[in-house]
């Protein structure tokens, strides 16, 4: 029955306002038809009692009541709860799928209400339904696990593609770089003759990720990767960003990805932006850089400190061969601005001659 309380004890924060706590520690609802609220603690005592008595099948409401020794608990409460317990084993168990949980609760409620009539039939279908639900949950977990493995496998494979592309081009560039006398020809076509693919050198190097490709660190680690990177995050160029393990696959669901901001992309051109074709500064194939600039349509790069930073990071990350093409920090904004302005027309349609160059070159493989 409904226990009125003379002095309602202070309510715990998570009680709903409509509940009052009786002297016995029971939480009762105050709606017209008072129902006992099975809190976690109460339920645990219940479970203890049941286990003591040898399991839900052996225990009876009377014995449970005696064992639990909770005042205010009636046979009625225990009967229904025991029945639920028998069916659900752990009605408090958390399901992943909310809808399943709700469905379970709904049908459990219904069963409780109809407990008088044709209970065995209800029980049986409840059982089946529950089994089905549990089976599906199991399957879902399996699927999730497999999905993770498959995504990793695909990632590994992609990695091998990117790496191979890197190596091929690096090798070719090495050859070109060592043989090229005057690296700066008027057209950018000289590299095209030796390789079928033309990739800016820095971009190649960036294919190689510094991180093991097939590990998918949890999201927190991903955060670290991007936020606590060595000093000024001299943004690795575009391709490098791609190689970072996907933050998606944390198994923890969605997570906003902290990709490097736009700033990084600006730098696509910068290390190479300093390798300006006109005054040849370094013995490196310029075409790559012009290529890169054209392809990525870089904006006016930021100030030289960043360029320097870029180089530092580039040096760290890239292999020795890149040093050949290392831009000297002196060659900073002046040249790059000029270069960028050249390329940065308002409408980079393909009518833009600089655009069409690399593409025209590539038609050899097309």
């Amino acid at each position: 029955m409904f226990h009125t309380t003379k002095k309602p004890s202070s309510m715990t924060p998570h009680d709903r306002p409509m509940c009052v706590q009786g002297d016995s520690g029971l939480v009762l609802t105050t709606d017209p038809k008072p129902r006992l609220r099975w809190t976690v603690e109460l339920h645990e005592r219940f479970v203890d009692a049941v286990t003591q008595l040898g399991g839900p099948d052996k225990a009876t409401p009377k014995t449970i009541m005696r064992v639990m020794g909770v005042k205010g608990l009636t046979l009625y409460h225990l009967k229904s709860h025991l029945q639920k317990f028998r069916l659900g084993k752990q009605p408090h168990k958390e399901f992943n799928d909310q809808s399943i949980k709700d469905g379970m609760r709904a049908s459990a409620m219904e069963l409780q209400r109809n407990s008088g009539s044709s209970s065995t039939l209800m029980e049986r279908s409840m059982n089946e339904m529950q089994l089905e639900v549990q089976r599906r949950l199991h399957e879902q977990i399996e699927v999730q696990r497999h999905l993770q493995l498959r995504i990793e496998a695909q990632g590994k494979y992609m990695q091998s593609i990117l790496e191979k592309a890197c190596q091929t081009l690096a090798g070719e560039n090495m050859a070109v770089a060592s043989t090229a006398a005057g690296p700066f020809k008027t057209t950018s076509n000289n590299v095209g003759t030796t390789s079928t693919n033309l990739v800016p050198d820095t971009a190649i190097k960036d294919f190689i990720s510094p991180h093991p490709p097939h590990t998918f660190p949890p999201f927190q680690d991903m955060n670290n990767l991007f936020t606590s990177e060595p000093p000024p995050p001299p943004p690795p160029p575009l391709i490098d960003c791609l190689k970072k393990p996907s933050p998606f696959i944390s198994g923890a669901g969605k997570a906003p990805i902290f990709w490097p901001d736009d700033l990084r992309l600006q730098h696509l051109g910068t290390p190479s932006a300093t390798l300006v074709p006109p005054p040849p500064s370094i013995g490196s194939p310029p075409d790559l850089d012009s290529l890169q600039l054209e392809m990525y349509e870089s904006k006016p790069p930021p100030l030289s400190p960043l360029l320097v930073g870029n180089d530092a990071i580039n040096e760290k990350k890239f292999e020795a061969s890149v040093k050949l093409e290392r831009p000297s920090p002196r060659q900073s904004s002046g040249h790059s601005d000029e270069r960028v302005n050249n390329n940065n027309n308002g409408m980079p349609n393909n009518s833009n001659p600089t655009m069409s160059q690399p593409q025209g070159r590539n038609s050899s493989f097309g």
């Binding site: 699927v143 995504i151 496998a153 190649i204 990709w259 736009d262 904006k299």
Partner: protein, 476 residues
């Protein structure tokens, strides 16, 4: 049919284009306005980069309400212009000159690398239309052979980067691959030898995860021997990054690394790109699977005839399973009829894709621009060519139907999508942005969509007679 073009058009209500006769005056009126309007709202690339904002441009702008109005006006204007070009190109009263004029105007307004999603899409459409015009002008219109190859040729770096971005940032690639693979896995659960014929193997990425799954099968025979035959085109066709042989080598290496018994073959198409089943090497007792991916990132630079011949040929082999990944195109009952339907549908579809990429790629401009340039631009071109075709060819009533429907007509029967497959698709898509949806259409098709727009479907089919290959005695 009211086409409220959402997505990039942001709920700008559009007049009912299907009843064109009634509205033609209005259309014309609006068209003239659009063309002739002194730029009360000049297109200003107020941001150099593509900003992701559509309606809310600059938060610092005090008159934001007015900003939105202008935005809507701009959107509407672009939309009108695009429709006008479509009408001029495909409509009953064709006029290439008019189309050209409008395109010139459009080009003043939009650019493929600046502006909102809508503006960029419009620019790509404008490009595609221009290609059509130039094509026709030059050669009298040979189908499917774009004369602007330079536009579609991208450096391998670009392609690779764009692909990596696409498949990391959006579920398009993985959805198709994984769903098809799961269906294959289930179909060959008890087989010792599996043979997959892949129409468009590209870099073979789909098979990495399949191999992994095969190797880790627990409660069935150890990893079956997997054979993949890649259909390859002649040397004239465009290669993506590498050759088919390279793909084969890579797959072999990968298989070796995980301990999957594997062999790789090639089957060349005829010069006219038709498929001869006899060119395949078949082994008795193997389960034959046909895999046909026609969507991103696989460039469908192949003609519908080629695809049709492949599918027809494949059917004659009585494969255990046929997996088909394609664009989900909406069309009315009369397929060849209404270019408007198709055009608007394509607009909606690509708008949705653009929007979804925007949601998925926080790196705003370059990355998305790359993906758009490498993949979406060519797709838009191909779509327009496809829409244009029946007008020229006058035959292909079937050309524009979904390939899945073709398979059904050919007599293949639908194979159900399992709970596990559906579950996997949902889980996969959940890893990405909220806006993606997975639906089950019919019993054998899973569709990936963005918000309310369906984009990409995977359907699985089986031969109605499971006679050949693996089982010995069955015959229909």
């Amino acid at each position: 049919m009211a086409m409220a073009v959402d997505n990039a058009f942001n709920g700008v209500a559009v007049s009912d284009y299907s009843t064109s006769t009634n509205n033609s005056n209005d259309d014309f009126h609006d068209l003239f306005d659009s063309i002739m309007s002194i730029d009360a709202l000049p297109y200003s690339p107020q941001v150099v980069e593509i900003d992701g904002g559509t309606n809310c441009n600059s938060p610092s702008n005090p008159a934001e309400g007015r900003e939105e109005e202008e935005e809507e006006f701009r959107s509407l204007r672009l939309y009108h212009l695009l429709m006008a070009v479509a009408d001029a190109m495909f409509g009953d009263h064709k006029s290439r000159e008019l189309a050209q004029v409008i395109l010139i105007r459009l080009n003043e307004l939009v650019s493929t690398s600046h502006g909102t999603n809508l503006e960029r899409i419009t620019a790509y459409y404008a490009q595609a239309f221009q290609d059509l015009l130039d094509c026709a002008a030059v050669s009298g219109g040979g189908p499917n052979k774009p004369h602007h190859l330079h536009r579609d040729d991208h450096s391998p770096t670009d392609v690779l980067a764009a692909f990596q971005l696409l498949q990391e940032m959006s579920p398009y690639v993985k959805f198709g691959h994984f769903t098809a693979n799961q269906a294959i896995l289930e179909a060959v659960a008890d087989d010792r030898r599996v043979h997959i014929v892949d129409y468009n193997i590209m870099e073979g990425i789909q098979w990495a995860s399949l191999m992994q799954a095969l190797v880790s099968r627990k409660d069935s025979p150890p990893a079956p021997h997997l054979r993949i035959t890649a259909i390859s085109r002649g040397p004239s066709s465009r290669r993506w990054i590498g050759t088919v042989q390279e793909t084969g080598r890579r797959l072999v290496a990968f298989a070796a690394s995980i301990g999957q018994p594997f062999s790789f073959h090639q089957c060349k198409l005829d010069s006219d790109e038709s498929f001869r089943p006899s060119g395949l090497k078949l082994v008795r007792g193997e389960a034959l699977v046909v895999n046909c991916v026609l969507h991103l990132p696989h460039f469908s630079n192949t003609s519908p005839e080629s695809i049709a011949s492949f599918l027809a040929g494949a059917k004659t082999l009585n494969p255990r399973l046929v997996t088909l990944v394609e664009e989900e195109i909406e069309h009315g009952p009369t397929i060849d009829g209404d270019y408007k339907v198709q055009f608007l549908d394509s607009l909606e579809r690509y708008s949705a894709i653009y929007d979804s990429l925007e949601a998925g790629i926080p790196m705003k401009n370059r990355a998305r621009g790359l993906v758009e340039k490498v993949f979406l631009g060519p797709r838009i071109s191909a779509t327009l060519r496809r829409i244009e075709q029946p007008q020229r060819a006058a035959t292909a009533a079937e050309e524009n139907c979904l390939w899945g429907e073709r398979l059904e007509k050919m007599g293949l029967k639908a194979a159900a999508i399992s709970f596990a497959n559906h579950c996997q698709a949902r889980l996969l898509v959940d890893l990405f942005n909220d806006g993606y949806r997975v639906e089950e259409l019919g019993s054998n098709k899973l569709v990936l969509g963005w918000k309310s727009k369906r984009l990409l479907s995977v359907s699985i089919w089986a031969s109605s007679s499971l006679s050949s290959s693996s089982s010995s005695s069955d015959s229909e």
